[in-house]
Assembly symmetry: D2
């Protein structure tokens, strides 16, 4: 994915980019927290994002985890840059069942060209959080707004 960085206000940039993401709207995801190097994106379980047993589908979990990691990376970058996922790996450790699913993205190592980011995905039930997935992603810094990598 590509995210722009058109202003020097990282939160405004990230919220503006998020609002243009068709898939996030389709999934019903919300951008719940934007801090430097830390971004949270949440989902409410519902049938349109489920797999056949009613759990939130791995594809929806991956999407919010990848976004949370990517925006966390973007929050530390200068204006005029975007980021793109070169690759990610995600491990699923428990079923995605609960009142709310939240992906918490953070930056492991910020570099000039490549940034290593990760996202933990939690299911919340009755005020308790349980880890359900862990993503690590290699993000590429892209100069300029149309910077889709080769």
């Amino acid at each position: 994915m590509v995210r722009d960085a058109a202003s020097d206000d990282y939160e405004k940039r990230i919220r503006s980019s998020f609002a243009k993401q068709g898939l996030m709207s389709t999934l019903g995801a919300t951008l719940d927290k934007v801090l430097p190097g830390l971004v949270e994106i949440a989902l409410r379980p519902r049938s349109g994002i489920s797999q056949q047993h009613g759990f939130v589908h791995a594809g929806a979990l991956s999407a919010i985890a990848d976004w949370a990691a990517g925006y966390a990376a973007l929050s530390l970058m200068p204006p005029g840059t975007g980021v793109l996922s070169a690759e990610y790996k995600i491990n699923f450790v428990a079923p995605a069942i609960g009142d709310r699913i939240v992906a918490r993205g953070s930056v492991v190592k910020a570099g000039r060209t490549l940034t290593l980011a990760q996202a933990e995905v939690f299911a919340e039930s009755g005020g308790q959080e349980k880890l359900i997935a862990l993503l690590t992603a290699t993000m590429v810094t892209v100069e300029g707004r149309d910077g889709i990598s080769d």
Copy 2:
């Protein structure tokens, strides 16, 4: 994700499981080919599954790739078993732009407990295919229909 295997007809089992996937319907994905060890799932690019520059979002690509790999694994398993993605890794190598996006899942090594599957994702434009992503996944065999992993 979990996929059931309620009959000994692998294609029927896979088509029936696919039809119950809420997220696949939300994404507009179609199950285009089901052979032993080879499954294709396709998408038509549209705004509801895009990122901000109009390309199909990485999250949607990952979802169809994970499914194609998982159903390819399931096609080789005995009736009464399901599969679950323990983890996957996906590399994105070109932007997802074209008339049609297709994920082609295959089995690298089928094991009793773990199966290594992969999916290549292609963008089709004017009759030409271009590789845009590559996924490798560890699938876990699950006995019985509610076999969500620990």
Copy 3:
């Protein structure tokens, strides 16, 4: 890799297993810390484990990281079980240069069949630690001492 668990003393089991690893001896790795769910393995940079610019080679970093993660997983398992790496992913974020390289393995989620473990690899120079690599691994529990997977 497979690691045995022949007694109920996890530290003794792990130290005994480590002592039998031909590659660890070849690399000159040492087992520096064994706690429940936390294991550290270290290396001293030298020419026999270097790449052409004199940094410790990625292959040696991966080996100690995989071991540290695997023994961390094993430390939480009952006697009579072993673990085996089904897969791992490692990101390299800085060159492996320093006085000492240490891989710190920990358990993210312990399951009956699969355990998600990770290892952070640090380079130490003048008393300072710097993160140089991050590994996440899926470990499989193996019953009995010869439990090589399928």
Copy 4:
């Protein structure tokens, strides 16, 4: 890892780089084939690269697989460039037992900055090859000989 490309003869560059790798010599690995986009590196099983049950250790497999993938990437690059592994993932699908272990590296997609390469690792026994591991790696192009990434 970093590999130089000091001349326009890719095979000479690769053989020269390989000869300077301390770890390859320690492991007893040999560079058996160098073609454009295809490189093979082999090992003979022996106690110094084993784990405790006598199989070749995962760390040694990863090292030759990472190298084979990296040199395959380098074989397609212009003189004066090197490559570095940003990350790799490896799945182990069968025990590393046999007369000879060979890692066959190839290029999935060559890009200006990033190249996706993979390596299949086979165990040979009595003239038969069996797949034992699969690696996918993101390689970064590095300009100049000391191009260690950020």
